[in-house]
Subunit: 140 residues, 2 copies
Amino acid sequence: MTTTDEHMKRGTDWLSKGGLRPTRQRVALACLLVGDGEHRHVTAESLYSDARDSGESVSLATVYNTLRAFCEAGLMHEVTVDGTKSYFDTNTHDHPHFFWEDTGVLMDAPTDQLEIARLPQAPAGAEIASVDVVIRLRRA
Amino acid sequence: MTTTDEHMKRGTDWLSKGGLRPTRQRVALACLLVGDGEHRHVTAESLYSDARDSGESVSLATVYNTLRAFCEAGLMHEVTVDGTKSYFDTNTHDHPHFFWEDTGVLMDAPTDQLEIARLPQAPAGAEIASVDVVIRLRRA
DNA sequence: TTAAGTGCAAATTATTTGCAGTAAG
DNA sequence: CTTACTGCAAATAATTTGCACTTAA
């Protein structure tokens, strides 16, 4: 099977895992996101321009709506690192991030190299939903 | 000395520590932020309404500009926990936060109860600017 | 006196929504 | 067929900015 076929299969499989209709736009975005099996960190704008670059016709509003739908379906996670824009991550496991302050690039940090020995206990009446760790980087 | 005098002194001292002119508006906001010696987490809107509630006349734009000025002067830190609004913290040390997902309230988490045994090393050419730890809470 | 600070109202940026049209099951 | 999805354009929300006016040093 060709690389493209493989990408396509990964994309559609991923969509059906989330119970989402495989429309042309969604399949295109899904392939861009998980087609090669790697995790990806995107903003609505970056995914939009990736789509246009690869010749796909999708509107920006649909990219926004689709990313929201992917998150609601549990296929992606929103990562909050920069007040001005939202980042979306295809890796839905709780894991640390590197954030380059100068370029605004978000990357995974190696999970196995983070070890939290002790964590503050949740206040009464609360439980911990997730622990976000963002390692902010500056050019040395 | 009265409580108000003390608040006023803390506020003006804090401003001069940042090398900022003690204008009426800045002194008022500074007193609200550090007057009682406690750390505080605010948004522009919340500080604006606190100011109006205490009878101070400040415009919302000035609250925004002032919070920015306080951050640039190193008196406060911006905390990114919610894509839709910016939070500002009077505690400028690197420390963990609790974030209540339902109410949007941000609080300090006890620093001494967090122990990071191992941290991913910064990629080549980078150095760690800060490590943000946000513990997201949901109502149990 | 003069450079910095303030307050509007208008501008900007990221994102969401209403609604008419299109397509998937 | 029927309900969900898409695409625009307009709406919204948080924040910033331009500019005339005020005030601290």
